[in-house]
């Protein structure tokens, strides 16, 4: 492996981390409230609302069922509009975020669904408003599960970030594709794959540890 490639791989690691971090962050900023809304407006829940639930559910289902590669292409104009270009690490963060939002929303919804309904009943009987109940009873109670879901989401985003290489995104995925696939450099391919696997494992491990640490049951 030449020094040049070694350097490329090295900076690829940082690019991948950068994409994963920001895309995860932004997808949670939008996806977390969306997931809470999906949960709270579903049937029998505190803010039951068929209309809102139906609309959000529909959007989430549609975006989630699009293959990520297609979403990448479809979003090129939008990406260009947001960051001015559709190529490079920063540009990949846009489709990654959009692709991850529905996954985050569903994951959050399912974590909240696990909360014992008795706790919600107790909160209501104390005179807590629905919003108070969600913030001070449901979300704290679901925190370990939310963190566990978070680890899965971040690992998914990391996997998706490798795909961004196809349309000119940066990171390890792009290196694997350009050197490993188009130029038949098997050593580069395997190195990047190994690095990606290690990164996913690390993320999983950190997530599980955080979840365990917060779990008081």
């Amino acid at each position: 492996m030449s020094d040049y490639i070694r350097e490329a791989i090295f900076s690829g690691i940082f690019e991948t981390l950068e994409m994963t971090f920001f895309a995860s962050l932004f997808s949670y900023i939008v996806g977390l409230p969306l997931g809470v809304l999906l949960y709270a407006t579903s049937k029998g829940r505190l803010l039951e609302n068929k209309g809102i639930n139906g609309v959000i559910g529909f959007i989430v289902n549609v975006t989630r069922s699009l293959p990520f590669l297609i979403l990448l292409v479809l979003l090129i104009p939008f990406t260009r509009f947001v960051v001015g270009t559709s190529i490079g690490t920063v540009a990949s963060i846009v489709p990654l975020t959009v692709g991850a939002i529905p996954i985050v929303a569903r994951m959050v919804e399912s974590s909240l669904n696990e909360v014992n309904p008795g706790i919600i009943e107790a909160a209501t009987s104390m005179g807590a408003s629905p919003v108070y109940t969600i913030i001070h009873f449901i979300i704290p109670e679901a925190t370990p599960s939310l963190l566990q879901g978070g680890a899965i989401n971040v690992a998914t985003v990391l996997g998706y970030s490798a795909m961004a290489g196809v349309i000119g995104g940066g990171g390890l995925g792009a290196i694997a594709l350009q050197y490993g696939y188009y130029r038949y450099q098997k050593d580069v391919l395997w190195t990047t794959v190994a690095l990606l696997v290690i990164m996913v494992m690390l993320i999983q491990e950190i997530g599980i540890r955080m979840s365990k640490k917060t779990r008081k049951t």
Binding site: A122, M126, G127, A128, S129, T217
Partner: protein, 332 residues
Amino acid sequence: MSNVFELTNVFKTYKNDGKEFTALKDVSLDVREGEIFGIIGMSGAGKSTLVRTLNRLEEVTSGTVKFYDKDLSSLKARELREVRHSISMIFQGFNLVNQRTVLANVEQPLRIAGVPRKERKEKARQMLEIVGLSEKADVFPARLSGGQKQRVAIARALAADPKVLLCDEATSALDPKITGEILDLLKKINQERKLTIVIITHEMAVVEKICDRVAIIDDGNLAEVGAVKDVFSNPQSKAAKKLVFPANPFDPSEPSGKVIRLVFDGTQSSVPFIANLVEQTGLKVNILSANTKSVGGIGFGQMILELPGSENDQKTIIDFFTKGGLSVSEVV
């Protein structure tokens, strides 16, 4: 004494997949200030639904539920939340927030009511002292036993200085010894803080131990309501009889034999009726089962007797007991 709750012709119907199910049928009753009011019934009788109409966790289909003369169904969401600060509730499953410490759990109702941080911490500690768990303030609920969890739930329920405490099968998940301790605690709170308590249970022992009055719910209907000692000594409804008198497992040993049930209360439980009967009439009876229990400090007993075959003898014996002031009924 004024009424805490006044229920008038309450109906509750659930609709599920086009099927209707009526959980409460024309229930009217009062809960008086300062009393411990029991609501007892078999599972599925509607008692959990009934208690949830008292803080409007369940909306009634028709009829009215009044809390201190205020019709609950007329309240707006905000007003209802305000009223709920005065109506605390504890549950069979305790329903504590597991991810928060005991102290933080007890603080919750105060936090909801907008009490400043320092004040509510102090109050929460006081409440934990009342239930005897001061040293567990910084522990998480998972580290507590069932009885301790229920004590925390009681402390949480008391924190907002409620006027009434609703207990939904609060002791059903606990063993008899812990149940006794929790009931003693509730009784103490009732007396010291003049707190009205409504207890939902399927266990007769709970009612016997601490309730002043009891309502019996059977298949959504209010079968009977009255002072515990009256209902125990002289149950009127079929549902009440079933709860008060366990089924008689014995058949008469001969076809012409007759099985009767004697019920006596504190005033007669010191008289040796059976011995007197044998001495005065020379007739013998066979005791199939007997028990006495203390209800509010008064001894209540019941005895199931098999009488001899001759109809004349049977009449003599029944007359003897009736004259003695015992209530006699035939067991079929």
